[in-house]
């Protein structure tokens, strides 16, 4: 289900801490919109002249570069499934997307979105700076798996009990540890741990060139002017249409051989939704909130 954005009600949202379920993914650059919709003339008369136009196809593309590497930006920018690298069990056989994981631990009652209560022995296995993934055990189901958004589509039953935690987006950074549990730097995207959810440590993230899974997102791009005006581009449905790609740019333009920044390039296809206002099928909503007291 696309996430709704109402510029009239939510136009003043904080860009650093937007209202749930929106998540700030940071700054981007090179934002480019490429309309692909085709129109055709309806001709009449001799010689033929255009009586009116009809929209033949509906298509739009968006491309840009993320300045930050995070789980979300990496997952958004790639056209394939994105996974967590779970901390491996000791002596586990190597695997390209992470070896068999160390056993998961069970959150205790009293957990919240930002504090995970654990048995003292389990808490001691984490340290400030650890990354955790929290989700249910995989029990042989097929279809979409992962919370709060699906991280994969399972076509046939698998054997890895940790598979859902490998693909989940319910991850967080540990900021404090004590004998009663762990405190996270930010609340878990999935909120309070669901019954049956378990916790594993994560060392990093991995995606693959190829695969058949397409992640779909609702996106809101904001351009803020110096006088407080805002331009919003709201895409209810976006799917990555290119495989993972990076761009390396020097930090210092005058020293191109020096330190560089690696940008994540993303190219997306907008998919249509039906506007309940009048039943029209649309790809993007562009809205403008003028600066205070600016003439309109």
């Amino acid at each position: 289900m696309p996430v709704l954005f109402d510029p009239a009600e939510q136009g003043k949202l904080s860009l650093d801490t937007p209202q749930a379920p929106w998540i700030d993914v940071g700054w981007i650059q090179g934002f480019t919109r490429k309309p692909g919709s085709k129109t055709s003339p309806v001709l009449t008369g001799i010689p033929a002249g255009t009586l009116e136009q009809v929209r033949e196809t509906l298509e739009a593309q968006v491309s840009f570069q993320f300045l930050n590497w995070t789980k979300l930006t990496m997952a958004l920018a790639t056209g394939s499934q994105h996974m967590n690298l779970l901390v491996p069990a000791s002596s586990a056989a190597a695997a390209a997307d992470g070896a068999q994981a160390a056993p998961a631990v069970i959150p205790q009652s009293g957990s919240s979105a930002i504090f995970i209560a654990l048995a003292a022995t389990d808490a001691a296995t984490f340290a400030p700076g650890s990354i955790i993934a929290l989700d249910a055990d995989y029990t042989g189901q097929t279809g979409f798996v992962g919370a709060p958004v699906a991280g994969a589509y399972v076509r046939q039953a698998l054997t890895d009990v940790d598979y859902i935690r490998r693909v989940t987006f319910n991850v967080g950074l540990v900021s404090q540890v004590n004998s009663t549990g762990i405190t996270l730097a930010e609340p878990l995207p999935g909120g309070i741990p669901a019954a049956g959810a378990k916790l594993q440590a994560v060392t990093g993230f991995v995606d693959r060139e190829g695969g058949s899974f397409y992640q779909e997102w609702s996106a809101l791009f904001v351009m803020q002017g110096s006088q407080g005006e805002r331009i919003f581009f709201y895409y209810p449905r976006l799917q990555a249409m290119a495989s993972a790609e990076e761009e390396v740019v020097p930090l210092d333009d005058k020293h191109e051989a020096g330190q560089s920044r690696v940008l994540l390039k993303g190219k997306f296809l907008a998919l249509p939704v039906t506007d309940p206002l009048d039943g029209e099928r649309v790809l993007c909503y562009r809205s403008f909130l003028p600066a205070p007291m600016a003439l309109v």
Binding site: G26, W27, L67, L251, H255, G258, Q259
Partner: protein, 161 residues
């Protein structure tokens, strides 16, 4: 930003003490590794020879990131007249030695960022990192050979900085 400058200087100073323990300077009654920060010492009419002098120049800030990135340009100047025992005829050799020490001091191009206002210095969460040095040409000043190198030093601003 001061933590990054302090950390860069202390990293180079620690490395120099290992690379060439004999390169020292007597400053305010104390013998120290032969590297100093110009802005942290009393002004000198003639910079000391056979010592690396760090001079902070430009500053740039990139605020479009999750953490603000700061870039500070550091000039590392050094000069030598050679040694008295060779009548200064070894000044080219002495400058080459300092060139090599400078390049060795800068590797690896990163160091932990510490807060030196705390005792003992407190480790911070990020690292200071820098570019390869851009070495300038030799400048001859009578019997003195001078060179300077410019290095762009990067760091991320942490909470409380």
């Amino acid at each position: 930003m001061q933590n990054a400058k302090d950390s860069f200087y202390m990293a180079l100073r620690t490395r120099l003490a290992t690379i060439n323990p004999e390169r020292t300077v007597l400053l305010r009654g104390t013998v120290r590794p032969g590297i100093l920060v110009e802005e942290a010492e009393a002004p000198f009419s003639q910079p000391p020879s056979d010592v690396f002098i760090l001079r902070w120049l430009g500053l740039a800030v990139d605020m479009d990131l999750g953490s603000t990135m700061v870039a500070e340009e550091c000039e590392i100047a050094y000069q030598t007249c050679g040694t008295q025992s060779y009548g200064g005829l070894d000044r080219g050799w002495a400058l080459s030695e300092m060139d090599e020490e400078l390049v060795a001091m800068l590797k690896p191009f990163y160091a932990p960022k510490l807060n030196y206002t705390a005792t003992p210095p407190a480790a911070m969460l990020t690292q200071v990192f820098w570019d390869e040095p851009a070495l300038g040409p030799i400048v001859v000043q009578r019997d003195r050979l001078n060179r300077s190198a410019k290095v762009m030093v990067y760091s991320y601003q942490e909470q409380g900085e």
